[in-house]
Assembly symmetry: C2
Homo-oligomer: 273 residues x 2
């Protein structure tokens, strides 16, 4: 199978145009699973919860999800894309997984970054892996990468590919994803955006370099930093399901959970400032 990304350059608030351009790129992307950036339809740099509300959509009935369902069916592809999900007066930085049969799953970002804590409600559902037939897909959004727990949980739940919708502004994620995929032996597609936003006295420059990462510390594709771009790569799902590192080590089985209890202990650690 082939996995890919659309690296886009959204215009803040111009949902119709942003979705239209992304759909055109999806038509040109030769992959079975296509990942789009975080908040690809709205832009990122919000300045009020009111703006978030106005640009939010319900799932699956909102216009963005509807447009994605249409192109997914037409092209017979699965799509993972970031948008604001409105649900019972809550607003999530979310990603939808849209299948060609019209079904839709939603992931709500668990680790919110910076001012997202002001604008969005934190994800309230566990990390989940979806079997799409050709592979098993886990979803993360942007800053989730910083926490090794995110991808580890997706690996433990059987993910072959992590669809990683991003609006990266720091330069660290792309190299770190090499470690993430190595330590979990799986593939990841990091779909980042390009361009910049200046709103309400704030400025964000998005770093592009969307990436498809392999399980052996190998890069399958890395995009440029400044332009819209489509990237794809062929992957070997059977290879990542076999977690044997050598004759004696099996990656996830070799975890020694009897010594891991601190990972879930309330109030554990944290250095003092």
């Amino acid at each position: 199978m082939r996995i890919g990304f659309i690296q886009t350059k959204p215009v803040f608030g111009h949902v119709e145009g942003n979705v239209e351009r992304a759909v055109k790129m999806i038509h040109r992307c030769d992959a079975d699973l296509i990942v789009l950036p975080e908040l690809f339809n709205t832009g990122y740099l919000f300045t009020s919860r009111e703006e978030v509300r106005e640009l939010s959509e319900t799932v699956p009935k909102g216009r963005t999800t509807e447009a994605l369902r249409e192109v997914a069916a037409e092209r017979n592809v699965h799509i993972v894309a970031g948008l604001i999900e409105r649900s019972r007066r809550k607003y999530y930085n979310a990603a939808v997984l849209v299948s060609p049969d019209g079904s839709v799953e939603t992931y709500r970002k668990i680790h919110l970054f910076h001012e997202e804590k002001l604008w969005f409600d934190p994800g309230d559902r566990p990390f989940t892996v979806y079997d799409i037939g050709s592979c098993r897909v886990g979803i993360m959004i942007c800053f989730d990468w910083f926490f090794p727990e995110s991808m580890r949980i997706l690996a433990l739940k059987g993910a072959d590919v992590v669809a990683h919708c991003a609006n990266l502004v720091m330069p660290f994620c792309q190299d770190a994803m090499i470690t993430r995929c190595l330590e979990n032996r799986l593939y990841a597609v990091t779909a980042n955006r390009v361009g910049s936003e200046k709103r309400g006295g704030k400025f964000c420059l998005y770093t592009g370099r969307s990436q498809i990462t392999g399980p052996q510390a190998n890069l399958l594709y890395r995009a440029g930093a400044g332009e819209e771009e489509i990237g794809t790569a062929a992957i070997d799902v059977a290879a990542v399901r076999d977690k044997r590192l050598n004759a004696h080590n099996v990656l996830l089985d070799d975890r020694r959970i009897e010594f891991y209890s601190d990972l879930t202990a309330p109030g554990a650690g944290a250095g003092d400032a």
Copy 2:
């Protein structure tokens, strides 16, 4: 304070000579905490449990630990170094933390690599952090790096510096340590060995490139791949105790443990071969 490593080239089985050369290098290493490679006194490529037994030592009374205590007191430094610890007919791939006051702590490798599973008993004690006055030190040995759980637990327990004794044969660890230190905001000293071993039809080439890694995806020192070498760097302990990433994110506090229970669930995940 300064942290450092000794990158050595042990001769298999020549404990006296290996320790003597290492002690000479310690005398030339200008650091408060000095890390030596895994099994620095014995070499690595064992071919029987009998060999392991013969080269094992008790702690703290064994000759290697005694020699380290002597130089630690003389130089007023803390030393972390790998050796085989014998205890009640068990043989651990261990590391000792030797203080200038003569006290000794021991870590027993938790994640055994490859044929180590044939020769050594797995570590039977939790990851532990030791306050040495100038900083708080956690210890890992080689393959422990592959599991993000290892360093995460040390960070949760308050480590400022991870002393990482290694005999690396794969090329991945050094770059991965940049991610490990970033995701936990701490320093690490990876002390690797150089040279090769050929025994019982087996061959290991050790990759050197011992490294001191900073908390901001920054390398403080990276050694060469082939020769013995001493490396040191100054560190800022207060900087890594402050886990604030920005005005809204505090690294370890932002972990969402209510969604992490899979990390310690028995029988969780593992792909099928």
